[in-house]
């Protein structure tokens, strides 16, 4: 049994069958890539995992518990963190404050009325956030207005914010989309480092084959809302159906 089990998931948008009978099992402590052409339903699948969308039918189990019918914040508190296709950070806040928020969420849960203590007196949370910024190589930017950073830095911050919650499953939706080659390589290194340093399962949606083959231990190919094949990277590379449906197109 994988840490995440998706069974017979269907999702329709009006006349469009975005997901049809998707079955997916992600094993604990692996990096699992989901690839497929644009509009294949990859983001839709991810949205069904984190409570942003509710599948029409089927089940989604995380660590033996159903995520369906739970609010996004509850699913997150179960241990699933998500990085968005365009970085979602707190643009009005400083980099350090951005990092503090998930650290508070991890320590205090979904709501805590600590209105009369000052942030600066919360040494444990501050230390953790500072440590995480060090790890993300962003300590020098701690007082920067986060909206004014480059896209690469925003992505890095967002990944750091997710990691500071110590999730068991990290979901990444095209983390390198729109990035320059150098930033992409940095992101690959960062993810490799993350994986080597902790017990974490990573599910990554990616367009860039270089990223996929550098990181993934298993790959699922999605086309028109259905998983085509699932295998190891080596097998996927040589798979005729995949070459035809996806790799050929992107080459």
């Amino acid at each position: 049994m994988g840490i995440l089990e998706v069974k017979n998931v269907n999702k329709r948008f009006g006349g469009l069958q975005a997901l049809s009978d998707v079955n997916l099992s992600i094993a604990e402590n692996t990096v699992h890539a989901i690839i497929g052409p644009n509009g294949a339903g990859k983001s839709t699948l991810l949205n069904c995992l984190v409570g942003k969308l509710i599948p029409d039918t089927g089940s989604v189990m995380f660590d033996g518990q159903s995520v369906l019918g739970r609010a996004p914040y509850e699913i997150n508190q179960m241990g699933i963190s998500r990085v968005f296709q365009t970085p979602e950070i707190f643009g009005d806040l400083t980099v350090l404050e951005n990092m503090l928020i998930p650290c508070f969420a991890k320590r205090d849960g979904s709501f805590e009325m600590n209105a009369l203590t000052s942030v600066t007196s919360q040494k444990d949370v501050l230390a953790k956030a500072e440590h995480m910024l060090e790890e993300m190589n962003m300590a020098d930017k701690r007082h920067m207005h986060s909206a004014s950073m480059s896209r690469g830095d925003k992505r890095r911050l967002e990944i750091g914010m997710c990691l500071s919650q110590e999730p068991r499953l990290l979901l990444l939706d095209e983390p390198t989309a729109g990035m320059a080659r150098a930033d992409t390589n940095n992101t690959i290194d960062l993810l490799k480092q993350i994986k080597s340093e902790r017990d974490i399962t990573i599910a990554i949606i990616e367009h860039d084959m270089h990223v996929v083959f550098s990181l993934a231990e298993r790959i699922t190919v999605l086309a028109q809302g259905t998983p085509l094949v699932e295998d190891t990277p080596d097998k996927i590379k040589g798979h005729p159906k995949v070459r035809e449906a996806y790799l050929g197109e992107s080459a």
Partner: protein, 401 residues
């Protein structure tokens, strides 16, 4: 000090000194001089400055931090006033129980309205709060007359039951509000040459409470809770996917700001024990929005500045009339004098709304951060002038190299 950092402490101290010295600061012109018109240091107006300051400080916790724009906060102010007057009627003329009840009742009322309104965000939230407030206003005006005394407004009478106290004083008049015997209307008048300064007990109580309210708001701004409220404003999507439930945060902010409004309402009634439905009208709700935006939403001191600014305009500009103008411009030749008075006329007296409206537009367009941003700009400009000179001297040395 008091758990604040150095900067916040000095801000608090500056506000405290200003509040303490307000009777002097606001009365700079000698009595009887032409400029005495602009004096604002009389008890009634000073009380309004600080009480509406409290209202705006509280409103800023909701609007400035979370970005949720309520158009119905006057309802909580009104509820606070009614509660206080009832306390005077039934229990005692001491202002403490009255103020406590105002805060509690307004808090409960805010919990109810916030719980429903916060199901939506953006313009729908604003409309819901507006609808609730107008409903409260209409109810206070009609159906709830037994509680609110309808159009006339709720007042004290000579036969209020008053458990801890008397219905009438020995000389047959209505007793006055007090703080353990210290009468709120009690005023000490100090004459210094042609100047007159008034020190009013009610003002100082209100100012003290305003300082406490301001101190609490600084604590909230600097707390993890305050940071979460700013996170709500910045990106609710990220907040949800960071395991945080935005709803209780926004509801708590709504209730807190409602309690501040109730406190302001209770204080208004403590200074002058009557309450009318018009206190809950949408114009009153709009006024606190204006105060907060004019001063600088999301800044600590902005709402107090905005409240002072608007109350000053409302009370001072509205009292300038043509006779006063003719006095001022009397030195001009008659034809010119009439012309100038004719031009200025629409902006004064009943026309003060026009002046305020124009000022408000100018601020929103040129200073989206409000008066606080204006202050910062002036500060930067003063320092920038020095820096600019340095740059110029550097530039002039460059070609020589």
């Amino acid at each position: 000090m008091f758990g604040l950092n150095a900067r916040d402490t000095s801000l608090l101290i500056v506000v405290a000194i200003l509040a303490l010295c307000a009777p002097f600061i606001l009365n700079p012109f000698p009595q009887g001089s032409a400029m005495a018109q602009f004096n604002a240091g009389y008890p009634d107006l000073m009380q309004r400055f600080v009480i509406f300051g409290i209202f705006a400080i509280g409103f800023n916790i909701l609007f400035g931090l979370t970005g949720y724009l309520s158009f119905g906060h006057a309802a909580f102010l009104g509820v606070g006033s009614y509660s206080a007057v009832w306390m005077f009627k039934l229990l005692s003329m001491n202002v403490i129980p009255a103020i406590l009840l105002s805060v509690i009742v307004a808090g409960l009322f805010a919990l109810l309205i916030g719980y429903v309104s916060l199901r939506r965000s953006g313009i729908y939230f604003s409309i819901l709060t507006l609808a609730f407030a107008q409903m409260s206003f209409a109810l206070a005006y009609s159906v709830l007359t037994p509680i609110t005394n309808g159009e006339t407004g709720l007042q004290l009478s000579l036969n209020d039951p008053r458990i801890l106290g008397v219905s009438q004083t020995a000389d047959g008049s209505i007793p006055v509000t007090n703080l353990f015997g210290l009468e709120m209307r009690g005023t000490y008048q100090m004459d210094v040459g042609p100047w007159m300064f008034q020190f009013n007990a009610g003002y100082y109580l209100s100012a003290l409470i305003m300082l406490i309210a301001f101190y609490l708001s600084i604590r909230i701004f600097r707390s993890p809770f305050g940071m979460m409220l700013r996170a709500v404003k910045s990106n609710q999507q990220r907040m949800n996917y960071t395991g945080l439930n935005a709803r209780p945060y926004t509801l708590a902010a709504f209730v807190i700001s409602g309690m501040y409004a109730g406190l302001a309402g209770g204080l208004l009634a403590s200074m002058d024990p009557l309450a009318g439905a018009e206190r809950m009208q949408w114009t009153a709700s709009g006024e606190v929005v204006l105060m907060t935006i004019l001063g600088g939403a999301g800044t600590l001191i902005g709402p107090i500045l905005g409240a002072g600014f608007i109350k000053y305009f409302e009370n001072i500009f509205s009292k300038i009339n043509d006779t006063v103008l003719h006095q001022w411009f009397g030195f001009l030749p008659d034809g010119l004098e009439d012309f100038v008075v004719f031009i200025v006329h629409p902006f004064i007296g009943k026309g003060w709304h026009l002046t305020l409206g124009i000022l408000f537009m100018l601020v929103v367009i040129f200073l989206p951060g409000g008066l606080v941003q204006g202050g910062q700009k002036i500060g930067k400009w003063l320092r920038g002038n020095k820096a600019g000179e340095d740059d110029a001297s550097k530039a002039s040395t460059k070609p020589a190299e």
